[in-house]
């Protein structure tokens, strides 16, 4: 009985979440902030991973990242809505809806064409955003400080509160995703990845799988964008730029498509490498980041998640 409890996904996740929330009290403030940001990026990466399970990689997740960020930002500045949880949730839903609308346009394409077209969409959005002066054009705009159930935390604790909210919301989303991945449509996606035509002959629609996955990925990306915007307190069109999208792809490739927690670890790793190389090598941080990307792709081609999986498999066997 107790053995069963330990292996229960919900139990494990809640254990991990409460652990992280406690750790947040011990680590310095900047690290709390970096982790929050890694969670934001990880959410987008999780979206790409959802797509990757169906054999697709989007090189334009900046598109949904930007829509999510701007949704939260505009609701905050124009409609006066500052509740962080509500903003995250609305961004999730709204961006998911946008994703659902453009998904049929993209879902017909595969491989590099899918990647390119999604990239093109993000660039069109970028072109529009820098043109609209009413929302700051290329400068972007500042978000109002966020509240939680009508309470505004004092500035010393604001970062920590957002961190806790991010962990809880992301934790439950990750659990839901795990259930989705192991459900029938989630497994069909894996089959599509292997051989799309055979899946269609067997009576399932690869198109529908792609639309569904893209919608989920859009929602996740939107929530990530909103979280990033809320955490930083500022939004600009750079959210949708192709270099931002490139980072998301890197996170998901570094993580691999096998494990959900690996995505957040990969995001944290990227965030730390970038931030420390920028701090200690301000002139050559791009070189270091580039080499880090190349080396990690060469040496961990199937991602950190594959380590996790091997590790757990071995544990199971030894039992």
């Amino acid at each position: 009985m107790s053995e069963k409890l330990y292996n229960n996904l919900l139990f494990q996740s809640i254990f991990l979440m409460s652990f992280l929330i406690l750790v947040g009290l011990l680590i310095p403030n900047w690290l709390v902030f970096v982790i929050t940001k890694a969670i934001a990026y990880g959410l987008v990466g999780l979206g790409i991973i959802t797509l990757m399970r169906g054999g697709l990689v989007s090189f334009g997740q900046g598109f949904v990242f930007g829509i999510g960020g701007y949704t939260a930002g505009l609701l905050g500045t124009q409609a006066g809505l500052t509740d962080a949880m509500l903003l995250l949730f609305i961004s999730f839903l709204f961006t998911g809806l946008v994703g659902l609308i453009i998904a049929p346009l993209l879902a017909r394409y595969r491989d590099i064409f899918f990647a390119m077209l999604s990239l093109a969409f993000s660039m069109v959005l970028y072109g529009i955003l820098i043109k609209i002066d009413a929302i700051g054009g290329s400068d972007g705009f500042v978000l109002p400080e966020s509240t939680y159930f009508g309470i505004k935390p004092s500035s010393e604790y604001a970062d920590y509160v957002l961190y806790v909210v991010a962990i809880i919301m992301t934790g439950f989303i990750s659990i839901l995703l795990r259930y989705y991945y192991d459900s029938t449509p989630g497994l069909i996606a894996l089959a599509v990845r292997e051989n799309e035509l055979r899946v269609e002959y067997l009576g399932s629609s690869a198109f529908n799988v792609a639309v569904l996955n893209f919608t989920i990925a859009a929602g996740l990306g939107g929530m990530g964008g909103a979280l990033n915007g809320i955490a930083l307190g500022h939004i600009d069109p750079e959210f949708t730029y192709w270099t931002t999208s490139g980072e998301f792809v890197f996170i998901s490739i570094l993580a691999g498509y096998l494990s959900v927690p690996a995505v957040f670890l990969a995001a944290l790793l990227l965030e730390l490498v970038r931030s420390f190389s920028g701090r200690y090598f301000p002139d050559t941080w791009q070189l270091i980041l580039g080499l880090f990307l190349i080396l990690s792709i060469i040496f961990i081609p199937s991602g950190i998640g594959s380590f996790f999986k091997q590790f757990f498999d071995r544990l199971k066997k030894s039992k």
């Binding site: 690290l31 002066d133 500042v142 930083l232 500022h234 931030s275 420390f276 301000p282």
Partner: protein, 433 residues
């Protein structure tokens, strides 16, 4: 017990790596003054602004630490505290900069941050700075909106905003009797370019209501190809062409427009045109009216402080300093004066940020570019005197700036409490020329 063992291994490895990182970042404990310096070190704004500015800053910090600067800057470092600078690259957009700023303040625990060339960054940083209660000096960016739309406790800008550049050019054109019956502009399509053009065109309209706007071009920033724009400007036959292009864009525009005769046919004015002169040298066209965003470089005043700075920079880097190093040094000087003023009142110990902020407010200090007065935005935004000149060849055939007209700070800057745009629209009330 499997799951707990897994958790233990995972979390302990996680914690160890975290502690290593924390250890690295907190390793350097120190007694001096830790200053975060944010400026462009990569991307298109590095060569024209970021790097020369940081060169000037680096040199000045070194001289301060050695106590080699002339009075009133002859105390070692900031009030006897040696300065340790942490340079950070400004590229990557405002959102990334907010994060870098937080890292500097929370992780490196800097005593102050000096930085920001891009207006977008200057709009984004102040609210975070106040939230984190971090002393911040904006040294370069142009947008007037920072202290016009909001007010901040810990944020100061030690250089005048961009309105002055364009007002002064409009005045210069009229005083020197240039034909401004029709004007055209080519400015980058973002806040800096649009604000510059608006300030210039409205100023011209106020001073000479009959003048006509022919052509308003807003190419993309960093586009580098201006053939079409040059044709359109020449076709418009405007008497004056205004531009606030900078850096690589300005250099490319000059290189492409010169052989096509734009500078011969039209009076071109560059509102921030001096900083590409060290690079372009004699490729720079003659007869261009230009500003340097202050009395900098070839238009600097003839004072002992300026001579000292000009020569120190020239000796170190082999080129003359244009606006960027002047502006960064100006920021360092303001910060130094504020710190030392605060130390006078607190008995000579290291002042905290509230004491520095109180001392900074309304401060006046001499810089190589003239007297800087923290007058606007309730003592947080500087005004400074300005100069406009015209390029010409000297007797050796080298490009230089002549016909320099100097403007008092209060002549080309709005008084406290009035927005720059409103001041121009109202026809410069209370300008003291």
């Amino acid at each position: 017990m499997n799951f707990f063992r897994q958790c233990l291994i995972l979390t302990s490895s996680f914690l160890i790596s975290l502690l290593t990182f924390v250890g690295i970042s907190n390793a350097d404990g120190h007694k001096g003054f830790k200053l975060g310096v944010v400026t462009f070190l990569s991307g298109p704004a590095a060569e024209p602004f970021g790097v020369p500015a940081w060169n000037g800053g680096k040199l000045f910090i070194k001289l301060l630490n050695e106590g080699k600067a002339p009075a009133p800057y002859n105390k070692i470092g900031f009030g006897g505290m040696k300065i340790t600078a942490i340079p950070i690259d400004e590229s990557g957009g405002a959102t990334k900069q907010v994060q870098e700023f937080r890292n500097l303040v929370q992780r490196d625990k800097v005593d102050a941050v000096l930085g920001y060339v891009s207006s977008g960054d200057c709009m984004a940083i102040p609210s975070v700075a106040d939230e984190l209660k971090a002393l911040t000096v904006l040294y370069d960016c142009g947008t007037p909106r920072v202290f016009e739309d909001a007010s901040y406790k810990y944020v100061f800008r030690t250089a005048a905003h961009a309105a002055m550049d364009n007002i002064a050019i409009a005045k210069y054109l009229i005083e020197k009797g240039h034909d401004i019956s029709s004007i055209a502009g080519i400015n980058q399509n973002y806040a800096w370019g649009k604000d510059s053009w608006k300030d210039f065109s409205v100023s011209v309209k106020k001073l000479s209501p009959s003048s006509e706007i022919k052509n308003e071009l807003f190419p993309k920033i960093f586009s580098g190809q201006y053939g079409t724009e040059i044709s359109a400007l020449m076709n418009s036959k405007a008497k004056v062409v205004h531009s606030s292009l900078w850096g690589g864009d300005l250099q490319s525009f000059i290189l492409q427009a010169k052989p096509r005769g734009l500078f011969k046919r039209t009076q071109v004015v560059f509102s921030a045109g001096d900083h590409v002169m060290p690079g372009l040298g004699n490729k720079y066209p003659e007869g261009v009216i230009l500003g340097a965003r202050g009395q900098y470089g070839m238009m600097a005043p003839d004072t002992a402080l300026n001579k000292w700075f000009y020569k120190s920079y020239m000796d170190e880097y082999g080129v003359f300093p244009a606006q960027p190093p002047y502006r960064m040094v100006q920021g360092l000087m303001g910060l130094k004066m504020a710190i030392e003023k605060a130390m006078e009142t607190n008995g000579g110990k290291k002042p905290n940020k509230d004491e520095i902020a109180a001392a900074f407010k309304g401060l006046e200090f001499d810089s190589p570019g003239g007297l800087v007065q923290m007058r606007l935005g309730d003592g947080h935004q500087a005004i400074q005197p300005h100069a406009i000149g015209k390029t010409a060849k000297d007797k050796d055939g080298n490009i230089t700036v002549t016909d320099i007209v100097r403007y008092k700070a209060s002549c080309v800057n709005p008084p406290n409490g009035i927005k720059a745009v409103d001041w121009i629209n109202a026809g410069f009330p209370g300008a003291d020329c």
